[in-house]
């Protein structure tokens, strides 16, 4: 639970306005008048000229689809004669002007329209004829064209779900991502509730999207690749992401067919945007069962400095809730971060962020080489990430984005008695120019360079590699009208380590099918270099390749939304290890003959339904994902469904707020059908399946004031029902015994308090 979420709670309730005292009844009054008010009263409703040569014009204002437009303004150009249409779009305008005139019609959400009329003589050439004194005619129909804003212009969404505050109508907002019970406060973990994402039982690290493994999802922050988005991995223990949810304002999560701006991800991209200048200075503190935090920000006129620090020790937490692993050294972490945000006088925005984290832990993990035994895994990690971005307009139609980043990560690991060190560094830069000559056209072109190095020492084996990856891209978005949009793109990359390049097309389109609905499609080719385990050992197989095809239908209103998306993804040139037997050990060294003969596919559909209106104070959403996937890659013996894939995934998220009791509650139910596991005694490869995974979690917050400070007490209970989930099995080398793969914990309780020290300082009267 973030402070931003707490601060937003009460606004959820403020959906009605109390500022106006008059009530708007359904009863409508029709009034006909003129600007001067001189002639209207006596003539309303007639269709004939009076003896003083007054004429009555009547008509009906409609949309281009024939629906009435209420309360349009109707006036004679260059005259003060005017009236307002009634709720059915019908208008009556009385005038003593005659001859050729122009009727000016305007209505909210529609383009202002001029209609030539001839008053008092012959009908006008448009056919929208006002009645003449001698020939009353049925009211003419005048159709108005909607403005772009009236139509909720089409937005290309195939493959992508955006959580942003910048658009009013989106399926989810950033606050929704974090405020559900099963997010456990982890920004990336929260995406496991999204359609297309595998439910992770706690034994894996990363996002598994539509049949892809964790390495196929790339994470971007303000235009730069995040080198180490998760805390360093511990075998069998899933790790949280390093992102600070306080500092994220927008998220664009692509489960396929993503933009040409990015590459090197076979399945998915999570693109995060950090917050801009804060409104004012803040200071907050927090304490929970696992640590303490302090965060604040100083707002200056055109800039701000934000800072945060935290210390965590999971000893008390793991002592309270029994764990399925033995932590001989309870995880501890120190985290420091700062951000500088500045606005230039030309409207540009500069951001610089520095984040440092130091963590230690000691865990007895299952020995991947001998699943019957455990091995001590001691981890000391240091991670430093610096990234900056600068967005600025160069002219009215040209914008520039530059971004740069540096990160370094060091793991000193005690693997039993063996030395095991890992170290990686990344330096990167990106530049993009966006040309926006008209509202219908936007073209972005740019390039990026990533230079990174990985090094690993295991016992006496020292391995490393250095890669420089360059890319250039261009992408256009053309929206000739409010109901149709296309986005073609092209990207080319060159890998220094492979001495090879690639060039790929991307394409997406969207067509509006109704005021709140649209269909979309996307396709593209995506390349990714082989995993670090191959490059470290000196193997340089070619790029791996995926081709995405997806179609979707989306219906979004302000309080309810529905989305269904079907996809097919083919995998080619996947890396294979030939001539070796299968072992589920991720730290294996014998990789056999490595080539690109692997292949596979993933197909399925995802459904999302959200409803904020049907039940008072309740907001719920349901996602269901079906995936059918098989692949032959790495050391697989044959094409099979990987052991990280659940065919069926269901998430039900429910949120409730009681203003009266000052309580916010969230509950989540997660279901994932059993994942395959490797049984050396089975008739076919990866054919056995673990029991289905189910989890119920609940989060309750009590919000109050303590000495004028806003305070929130919260508690999060995971696995409320105490279900003993089993995520799979590991077999001994001889295949005679097996041990279950378990989540780090079953039922667990996390609680704490958050205090905002500055949020409610009131102005003096």
């Amino acid at each position: 639970m973030t402070p931003a979420i707490f601060l937003r709670f009460w606004f959820v309730l403020q959906t009605t306005l109390i500022i106006g005292i008059k009530s708007a009844s359904a009863q409508e009054s029709t009034q006909s008048s003129t600007l001067t008010g001189a002639h209207a009263a006596a003539q309303t409703g007639t269709h004939a000229a009076t003896q003083t040569s007054q004429y009555t014009l009547t008509g009906k204002i409609l949309t281009d689809r024939g629906a009435p437009i209420p309360y349009a303004s109707v006036s004679l150009k260059n005259s003060t004669d005017a009236t307002t249409a009634d709720s059915s779009g019908t208008f009556t305008l009385i005038t003593n002007t005659r001859g050729s005139q122009t009727l000016l019609i305007s209505a909210i959400g529609f383009k202002e329209t001029e209609v030539p009329v001839t008053i008092g003589r012959t009908p006008s050439p448009t056919g929208n004829t006002p009645s003449s004194p001698r020939s009353p005619a049925p009211p003419p129909l005048i159709k108005l064209k909607p403005t772009a804003s009236q139509l909720n212009p089409v937005v290309i969404t195939a493959g992508t779900m955006e959580a942003t505050d910048d658009r009013v109508l989106t399926i989810v907002k950033p606050v929704d991502v974090m405020s559900n019970a099963s997010s456990t406060g982890d920004l990336v973990g929260a995406f496991q509730n999204f359609p297309g994402v595998q439910r992770n039982g706690g034994d894996e690290t990363g996002l598994f999207v539509r049949g892809g493994d964790a390495s196929e999802t790339m994470m971007i922050l303000d235009g730069t690749t995040v080198q180490d988005p998760f805390f360093s991995s511990v075998p069998g223990v899933g790790q949280r992401s390093r992102f600070n949810s306080f500092q994220v304002k927008g998220m664009s999560f692509s489960t396929g067919g993503y933009s040409a701006r990015y590459g090197q991800a076979l399945s998915s991209v999570l693109d995060l945007q950090s917050t801009d200048l804060p409104d004012k200075s803040t200071l907050s503190i927090g304490a929970n069962i696992a640590g303490l935090m302090l965060a604040g920000g100083k707002r200056m006129t055109n800039s701000a400095l934000e800072y945060s620090g935290s210390y965590s020790n999971f000893g008390p937490y793991y002592d309270l809730a029994k764990t399925n692993f033995h932590f001989y050294d309870k995880p501890q972490a120190t985290d420091l971060s700062t951000r500088w945000i500045a606005r230039t006088h030309t409207g540009g925005l500069f951001k610089l962020a520095v984040h440092y984290n130091h963590s230690t832990s000691g865990t007895d993990v299952i020995d991947p080489n001998d699943p019957d035994t455990t091995i001590a895994f001691g981890l000391h990690n240091d991670n430093l990430a610096v990234n900056s971005s600068f967005k600025t307009p160069l002219s009215n139609s040209l914008k520039l984005l530059t971004a740069a980043g540096f990160s370094t990560n060091k793991d000193d690991i005690g693997w039993g008695d063996t030395i095991f060190n890992r170290n990686d560094n990344r330096l990167q830069a990106r530049t993009e120019l966006t040309w926006h000559p008209a509202t219908s056209l936007r073209i972005t072109a740019g390039g990026e360079v990533q230079h990174y190095r990985y090094a690993q020492q295991f016992d006496t084996a020292n391995n490393n590699f250095t890669e420089t990856l360059s890319a250039a891209f261009v992408e256009g978005e053309y929206r000739p009208n409010s109901w149709f949009a296309i986005k073609p793109g092209f990207r080319t990359e060159y890998s220094a380590i492979l001495r090879k390049g690639n060039a790929v097309p991307r394409f997406a389109l969207a067509i509006k099918t109704g005021p709140y609905s649209q269909i979309g499609a996307a396709t593209g080719i995506f390349y990714q270099t082989a995993g670090t385990q191959y490059l470290l050992l000196g193997y340089h197989p070619n790029f791996q390749k995926a081709v995405h095809y997806l179609v979707n239908y989306e219906w979004i209103q302000s309080s309810r939304s529905f989305r269904i998306e079907g996809y097919y993804k083919s995998y080619d040139q996947l890396v294979r290890e030939n001539g070796v037997s299968y072992t589920p050990n991720p730290y294996r060294y014998d990789l056999g003959i490595v080539d690109n003969t692997g292949s596979g596919y993933a197909k399925g559909f995802d459904i999302f339904w959200r409803d904020k209106a049907s039940i008072r104070n309740i907001d719920y959403w349901v996602t269901y994902s079906y995936v059918d996937t098989k692949r032959l890659y790495q050391n697989y013996l044959e094409s099979a469904t990987p052991d990280f894939v659940s065919t069926n995934n269901l998430n039900v998220i429910l949120k409730y707020y009681s203003d009266r009791n000052h309580i916010f509650a969230s509950a989540a139910y997660n279901y994932a059908s059993g994942r395959p596991y490797y049984d050396p005694n089975a008739k076919s490869f990866l054919s056995e399946k673990a029991p289905d995974y189910q989890n119920v979690s609940v989060k309750i917050s009590y919000l109050t004031n303590i000495k004028k400070m806003f305070a929130a007490f919260y508690a999060n209970v995971d696995d409320v029902t105490g279900r003993r989930n089993i995520l799979g099995y590991r077999y001994s080398p001889d295949g005679q015994t097996r041990s279950p793969i378990l989540p780090p914990q079953y039922m667990s309780i996390f609680f704490g308090v958050y205090l905002s020290l500055t949020q409610f300082k009131k102005d003096e009267l």
Partner: protein
């Protein structure tokens, strides 16, 4: 000579009278439209007046008051509208008039107060996601308005409304809002409510809020 003097005086007086008539013309139309607006109780009634304000602003684009009331009526109606998209469309129009109004005189306290009111109306379209941006904008403009004219009652009325609607545990509620409405009431009492060129909206609404605070 006497005839010449009389003729000169007649011309001067006629010119002055004509210019006075010209100056009063938009104000007379505005007064009439404002009467329609305040008497309305339905969307049809408000829109009728709103269309009048728009026509007046079109006819007299260089009149600060014409743009002011066109902006105000659109913002007010947005708070009565139920469709969020239409609310924003009304506020887009209000913003256009505010821009024109600020081109004529941006430093008036009433310009700032109205800008704050439009920001509050924007916030109300999507409170959950807009509070940070638009309540901030509202407060900034009210602070600026206070520096120009601390005796503008609408400043305190608009400060009171969000406090009234904010739950107690977040530091809001009736008790917190009441002093704002009381201060606004006292200031409303010192001001006339007949001159259309000196905005006087908000008094009745402020009184109603005060009544709710005293319940």
């Amino acid at each position: 000579m006497k005839k010449v003097t009389t003729a000169v005086w007649t011309i001067i007086l006629l010119t002055l009278a004509a210019s006075q008539v010209k100056a009063q013309e938009p104000n007379a139309s505005l007064t009439e439209a404002y009467k329609t607006f305040t008497a309305a109780t339905t969307m049809g009634g408000w829109m009728t007046a709103n269309n009048k304000f728009s026509l007046i602003a079109t006819k007299w684009p260089n009149q600060w008051t014409a743009n002011y009331y066109a902006a105000y009526s659109n913002a007010y109606i947005s708070t009565k509208e139920t469709d969020p998209k239409r609310k924003d469309q009304l506020l887009d129009i209000a913003d256009n008039y505010i821009a024109k109004m600020n081109n004529l005189a941006s430093d008036k306290d009433e310009s700032l107060v109205l800008t704050a009111y439009v920001a509050y109306a924007r916030f109300l379209v999507d409170p959950r996601n807009r509070w940070q941006k638009y309540l901030g904008l509202m407060n900034t403009n009210l602070e600026k308005a206070k520096k120009v004219n601390p005796n503008n009652p609408r400043i305190y009325y608009l400060e009171g409304v969000p406090e009234f609607n904010k739950p107690k545990l977040y530091g809001g509620g009736k008790d917190v809002a009441k002093p704002y409405f009381e201060k606004a009431k006292a200031l409303f009492a010192t001001q006339q409510s007949t001159d259309i060129t000196k905005p006087y909206w908000g008094e009745k609404e402020n009184a109603k809020y005060l009544e709710l605070c005293n319940e």
